[in-house]
Amino acid sequence: MLTRFHSALAALLLSTSTLAAQDITLHSDIGPAEDAEVVDVSKYESKRDGSYIVGFSNVAVINSWTAQLVEEANYRASTLPQIERYIVTDANNDPSKQVSDVEDMLAQGADAIVINPANPVALVPVLERAYEDGVVVIVVTADANTDKVTAKIMADQVKFGTDGGEFLVDAMGGEGNVIALRGIAGLSVDDDRFNGAADVIGENPDMEIIAEEYASWSYDQARQACESLALAHPQIDGVWSSGGAMTQACVEVFNEFGRDLVPMTGEANNGFFRTWKENQDAGFDSIAPQNPTWAVGEGIALAVAILEGQEVYDYYAVTADPYTAADLDELYRPDLNDSYWVGSTLPEEKLQELFGN
């Protein structure tokens, strides 16, 4: 099982990293982005003493995905013996509080700051200041509009969209009507995902996105959105969704309306996997692009690697492939609840503690 493999990998890291000379290995599902350059680690030589203060400035815990993200980050930090002190803050979605959080970390002498910024612009001044002061700054999962940071790890949200779009083209034979369930208007994550899907679908003249609705990635809003879309459009041949919980809702709406299930895109989440599996007999097929919860954890590992003087790159992209029906039996965890995000690096006992039924 992949999860077992991951926990074995984590255990291996734990045992090997205690040997000071051992390099830190990053997750195999991230790799240097196209024009990534090697980080000039000589800049941080003065800090290199094998004992570091590392801060993670989190934007907010607003759903199960962000909750797991923080758990994975905390766990990854605990596996790195070079971290003398690990600081986590939560900005409650408030950019000005996040600036203060970072300032507080700098006041505590943080050697590295890992951050998922509240928005692309507000954190730029404080991050640039930290970078110029010689602090390792790693931006993860959400971008900041500056190059004055040490490194970035970004999930490719366009790929999330194209993965789903390609699946729909394939499953629908290149023709038919698609409805789109979107996240939150104005958020780049949602725009990137949708544009990725729309580009792929747009290449097929017989396919059309006939309607789109925003449902905040949430199950209950998506139920309403899917109900009204299903009532308004008698001919729906495929559903593109920006998130798994929304797909779950739409599958249920189709079932309640007695309509034949059509191909719908999902996400690598246990709740969605349950719905997928339960409806496989009814001919339901999907695809589950990944938006890894372990990305911030890897940011922390990358920060320590840089402080230790390892050769790493300044830009990593998440290259995780989407899961398909072939992965479903292996990855679905009936013993864990709907909130579990598949592809975790957390050890089994932690998973049971957090998500056990």
Partner: protein, 326 residues
């Protein structure tokens, strides 16, 4: 002779009564200052290497001005027995207006003008149509937030360079934010304690009906508090936008309720008539020290919400409504 000898003593009595009343109204500030001092000492003793550093104090002085300024405005509204939930949205609207494709010499006055209009509408709604302050300002808050998002759907823009220069920087290690607080705080204290408006506001807040019957311009004073609050919110919005060097249509959302918290922790009663701007400084100081101290101590960020809420309950329950009217 006896008349003239009695007059000063009678006048002295009145003066003493006035002084007592003033002290009585401000007693929350004393308690607040005490709490502030205790938290300060605890942090200084327990976290000397992180808390008692120049960098940390300069951080705090840079972080707190928006909340101090917004809370000072809120203090006026609360003293007049009102409530202003639209503070956060006005801050966000200010930020959104600064991102408009106009020169800053246009956008800054425009933002302040917009705030004054919001304040007038709030005041008019509460005083003239009798809508409850929470409902009235909740409604305007929603409208103003919608406008902010219409003007600027996603964060962006570049803050006016002169404004950034007035916020990001320091004189001899004292961040510019301190001087913003000094300026707005000075005006607030002057308004409250050295003008007729301030004296009348206490009377109106303690008992609006009797104040009106004694011939005080009750409506004008209460509308005025909403205009002051909105203007303070706009100033806080200018500061925040410059601090973040960019605009964000949601930047004020957390500050709306925190401004009430700051005033309440400073001893201003939510039922009006008791409290004042001096206490608000300490109230906001308490919030700042708690956030900063818990960050420095590595306490889980979730507890910070729990502690803030608990502090509010304690502070409000220390002063009961029945003591009012003195």
């Amino acid at each position: 002779m006896s008349d003239t000898s009695q007059r000063p003593s009678f006048g002295g009595l009145t003066a003493r009564f006035r002084l007592d009343a003033r002290l009585y109204r401000q007693r929350g500030a004393a308690l607040s200052a005490l709490t502030f001092t205790i938290i300060f000492v605890v942090l200084a003793v327990s976290l000397p290497e992180n808390f008692l550093t120049g960098r940390n104090f300069s951080n705090l002085l840079g972080q707190l001005p928006p909340l101090v300024i917004a809370s000072l405005g809120q203090t006026f509204v609360l003293l007049g027995a009102g409530f202003d939930l639209s503070v956060g949205s006005v801050i966000s609207l200010t930020s959104a207006i600064l991102a408009l494709d106009l020169h800053w010499s246009m956008t800054i006055p425009l933002a302040l003008l917009a705030a004054v209009i919001v304040g007038l509408v709030n005041g008019w709604g509460v005083v003239k149509t009798g809508v409850h302050p929470i409902i009235m300002t909740l409604a305007t808050s929603s409208i103003v937030q919608g406008l902010a998002l219409t003007l600027l759907p996603v964060p962006g823009g570049v803050a006016p360079p002169p404004l950034v220069a007035m916020v990001q920087g320091d004189i001899l290690g004292i961040p510019f934010g301190f001087f913003w607080v000094l300026a707005v705080g000075g005006i607030a204290i002057h308004l409250m304690h050295a003008t007729r408006f301030g004296a009348h506001l206490y009377a109106v807040g303690a008992n609006s009906d009797s104040a009106r019957l004694s011939g005080l311009p009750d409506a004008r004073i209460r509308i005025g508090t909403y205009v002051i609050s909105a203007t303070c919110a706009a100033i806080a919005g200018l500061y925040l936008t410059a601090r973040l060097a960019s605009s964000d249509p949601n930047v004020g959302s957390a500050l709306g309720l925190d401004s009430v918290l700051g005033a309440a922790l400073g001893g201003t009663l939510l039922s009006g008539g008791i409290g004042g701007p001096i206490g608000t400084f300490f109230g906001v100081g308490i919030i700042g020290l708690l956030n900063n101290g818990m960050n420095l101590a590595g306490i889980s960020p979730f507890y910070q919400h729990v502690v803030k809420g608990t502090m509010l309950i304690i502070s409000v329950s220390l002063f009961r409504r029945k003591e009012l009217g003195l």
